[in-house]
Symmetry: C2
Subunit: 216 residues, 2 copies
Amino acid sequence: MTPVILTVDVVLFTLHQDNLHVVLLPREHNPYAQQLALPGGYVHPEEDQDTLSAARRMLHSKTGIVSPYLEQLYTFSGRVRDPRGWSVSVAYYALIHQSRLPQEHQRFELHAVDALPELPFDHNRIVQTACKRLRDKSTYSTLPCHLLPSAFTLAELQQTYEKILGTRLDKSVFRRKLNDLDFLEEAEGQRTGAHRPAQLYRLRADCSDATFGKTM
Amino acid sequence: MTPVILTVDVVLFTLHQDNLHVVLLPREHNPYAQQLALPGGYVHPEEDQDTLSAARRMLHSKTGIVSPYLEQLYTFSGRVRDPRGWSVSVAYYALIHQSRLPQEHQRFELHAVDALPELPFDHNRIVQTACKRLRDKSTYSTLPCHLLPSAFTLAELQQTYEKILGTRLDKSVFRRKLNDLDFLEEAEGQRTGAHRPAQLYRLRADCSDATFGKTM
DNA sequence: GGAATAGTGTCTATGAGACAGTATGAA
DNA sequence: TTCATACTGTCTCATAGACACTATTCC
């Protein structure tokens, strides 16, 4: 068998300055050394249980982040996508709140998904695919919760859905649906700001990957 | 790098005796020689453009079928799924009408998805994943059309949706939605049987992978 | 004409959207 | 008291579901 290059790449989403961003970091090695790219690298069969473990390891070793929401996205493959030869990249996507990104000594950068630089390999296509998946799945799942801190207000959650979906939602309708779908529970405390404080909620533990028939 | 085994596997669905079946065939080589398994095998980097091409080649060489609906399903990987070692299988699923299965000299078998034998590797899990995807996606896409011949009646289409989704649909509602979604076009001729003939329809060429917000 | 299936029309209840209203804390 | 935001109530209109009705063929 001709050897095939096996890698994983991770599209790590976060909300930054009210817009969807992805984490990019400069590549350490050739090809495309120093260029900004998705966190990723070779699968290590001795070390990794499977490609999910490899993705987790990659994320942790390159950005210091442990175990946010992480899901397989799609597998990209072929002769031309990597100059080193025939390759397979199992792509994953992850969601995290900005507060859980390490603050110091990390070389990663946040880039708005609608203003990405040109990336090596087929990484632009991978990000596009991830955006589409995130948007599609957000219409019928609890995904956007993972972009928020562990406790959040209903207004924050609504804004997050709106940002991802690119549409305005009616407050009353949104809350009625949340009530029906019943994937949130009250958290302790309230968000106190300049005005009336808002109740905090958290995603129910058994609903971290919940999907529903209806649409948000 | 430790060498990694790279394969593709294909879950080929068809309706047979009014039930959802998958194509299985006896493995030619070890491990598990002679045992029934999904059509699949090694990716050939010299020959295959990418894993999709590999899946097409596999399907054609093992079953004689060319190019039905074929879509990537999920990538299964790890140390334990294949006794030969650390492996990656990029799984695809395909839909085809029984009439397009070759009639003679093929060694494949049709097995009802709800009465599968025990399969080698993690093939049972792969079929399960494919069933779930097929069911989920059928609620908001034209997928079931690919299980029918190129021209079909609305009643046949409705029965197909019902079989896959496992629910009864109201004829009037179903047709109203078909009308709204507008992914069918009239085909020449009618299905003439024991009673009033039914108009034939076909999937519009630009809708072979159409999805919609609403639900069937 | 009867049986069976194709295809259409209509009533109703549900629920989404729009929007106005009330509640509560900060200044 | 005012302002801004949290939160809730209500009206209306669209539509999914239920089901009855008409149409067309074979016998």
